[in-house]
């Protein structure tokens, strides 16, 4: 047939440039990538960031130390309390104070709840990205329970803003411990439910196994951390290697997978939820009595009750609000294991009431760097699965 022959002769063979985002459901925010396609095969991915850049670091440099905490939580809003935790730990290191025992255990509880919170939403949206609608409804059910817990004790649901330099803003609300305990008791069976939907689901395995291969060597070179590097075969967890908040006193395992693919990252996050639950059970049972904030006049806010009854406390409180705390000159780096990996805070102090320089090591930002490397040569639809397996939070990527 001559007509068809002429069609074939005119078949175009140049590469197709496709714009993905910034508003695309699978980018979970405002992330744009220009994808170069050869047919359906991805040849190159050029990420374009910055649509959500708010000048976080610059803003912090112009705020008192205490005022950075709510801002910090708006970076990685999925694991909000991880941000305030790393920031508070860093400032505490500068001031050479340590939060009291009870505050440390509560911090662990809040941090692990945040981790589960973040992984739950990741699981729901990731499954949704690869075509499974149901898990989202299941995970949002448990996520709602967690938000109610945050709301109960801190007021905020998404961003609790509960941690303070030297400890916490106030003690746990009545009923928090019981509700957390009942959550930990049924949560394992809920994770089983998610697994029945995905782990042995043939369609899910087809979409994820062998997709987005990131070798361990590349993972280290690209600075990947968290579930990304654990999915590539390295059992590296900062809670184990450089413990903070007393993590050395809890028993938990670091899951590790050697598949290097999207499916491995899924398995890691599922297991991390179980391990977080394990930590929660221990923390709830060992929660000691005692103060919730360290005492150090001039840098840590005195307890609320004392402000109304003691003259000195009132003065300290007033001076802290008006002038802010002034850590000694120096530079400090603190990192923690956030739901996404090594979250770090580097602060340079010049002795003034504001951080002279604050650098945020955002794990999602650095993990995202591997995207182009691991998605070359895959199908376009796999690119969506890979992107969601990196677990980006755009507020943290752009800061």
């Amino acid at each position: 047939m001559p007509e068809q022959a002429s069609l074939i002769a005119e078949t175009r063979s140049e590469k197709l440039e496709l714009n993905l985002g910034p508003h695309h459901p699978s980018t979970h925010g405002v992330f744009r990538a220009v994808v170069e396609l050869d047919g359906e095969i991805v040849v190159n991915v050029v990420p374009h960031l910055g649509y959500l850049h708010r000048g976080y670091e610059k803003t912090c440099e112009n705020k008192n130390y205490h005022k950075v905490i709510p801002l910090a939580e708006r970076c990685d809003y999925m694991g909000a309390s991880s941000n305030s935790l790393v920031y508070c730990l860093c400032v505490e290191k500068m001031l050479d104070v340590e939060a009291p025992e009870r505050a440390q255990v509560i911090r662990v509880i809040i941090a692990e709840l945040s981790r589960i919170f973040s992984h739950l939403f990741w699981l729901g949206t990731h499954a949704h990205d690869v075509g499974a609608m149901t898990p989202l409804f299941y995970t949002l059910r448990e996520r709602e329970e967690l938000m109610n817990l945050f709301e109960l004790t801190a007021g905020g649901r998404l961003m609790p803003n509960y941690l303070r330099i030297g400890g916490l803003i106030k003690d746990l609300e009545e009923g928090f411990v019981e509700r957390t305990r009942s959550f930990t008791e049924h949560f394992d069976s809920r994770v089983d439910e998610y697994e029945t939907l995905l782990t042995k689901n043939a369609i899910y395995i087809d979409r994820t196994k062998g997709i987005g291969l990131l070798s361990l060597q590349d993972a280290i070179a690209m600075g990947a951390s968290g579930p990304m590097i654990r999915g590539s075969g390295l059992a590296w967890d900062i809670r184990k290697t450089q413990p903070y908040c007393g993590y050395e006193n809890y028993q938990f395992d670091v899951p590790v997978e050697t598949g290097c693919d999207v499916y491995s990252r899924y398995l890691i996050r599922i297991e991390e939820m179980r391990q977080s639950n394990r930590i929660l059970k221990q923390a709830v049972n060992k929660l000691p009595e005692g103060p919730i904030r360290a005492q150090k006049a001039g840098v840590i806010f005195p307890p609320q009750a004392e402000i109304y009854t003691k003259m000195e406390s009132l003065i300290h409180h007033f001076m802290l609000v008006v002038e802010g705390l002034k850590p000694p000159v120096g530079e400090y780096y603190q990192c923690i294991e956030s739901p996404r990996g090594e979250m770090g805070c580097y602060i340079i102090s010049d002795g003034g009431p504001n951080p002279y320089r604050l650098k945020w090591r955002a794990p999602a930002f650095i993990n995202l760097q591997s995207l182009a490397l691991i998605s070359n040569g895959c199908f376009f639809s796999d690119l969506i699965a890979i992107l969601s397996s990196i677990d980006i939070v755009l507020a943290e990527v752009d800061r």
Binding site: A221, G223, I348, R357, F365, I366, Q369
Partner: protein
């Protein structure tokens, strides 16, 4: 390996002009390295089997305006093998014309790519031999460097003529 041993190892392998100072803050030492030799020092830190800093946490710029030397570039390192951290920095003077320059470490740690692009646009520091020196977070046509200390936080269009409208 503790911080003092790492510092001693560095200073025994490089002359004093290269390792300019070492200051302990908390549990970590910050070593200042001359900008010309930053690549050599970084390569040594990565390749030496006792140090083995295979993981770069971040690269950050610092503006010490109005002090001189004005800029610092900070490299926060970690060794997955030995589980130790270390910090190296280099000082850059502001040239009379153009932007301060330092060699890119992307050849040693590929993860430095985005960190250096961000530092370059935010502080106006040029990273020599960077494989992809485009802007990262800011629009390509902006010529401002927002994280510099003399960058205004607010003002009218006349106060901030170099700000894109």
């Amino acid at each position: 390996m503790n911080q003092e041993l790492i510092r001693d190892k560095l200073s025994s392998n490089f002359p004093q002009e290269v390792i300019q100072s070492a200051v302990l803050f908390g549990e970590q030492i910050s070593v200042t390295v001359s900008a010309e030799k930053i690549l050599e020092v970084c390569l040594f830190l990565k390749e030496d089997s006792d140090l083995a800093f295979d993981f770069l946490s971040f690269v950050a710029g610092v503006d010490r305006y109005p002090k001189a030397p004005r800029f610092e570039v900070v490299y926060q390192l970690y060794s997955l093998k030995h589980n130790h951290r270390f910090r190296v920095k280099t000082l850059l003077n502001e040239p009379e014309n153009g932007l301060p320059e330092v060699d890119s470490v992307t050849g040693i740690w590929p993860t430095a790519d985005w960190h250096e692009r961000e530092t370059a646009e935010m502080f106006g520091i040029t990273f020599n031999n960077h494989p992809d020196p485009r802007k990262l977070l800011l629009p390509e046509n902006w010529s401002i460097h927002p994280l510099r200390k003399d960058f205004p936080l607010q003002g009218t269009g006349e106060d901030t003529p170099d700000l894109p409208s």
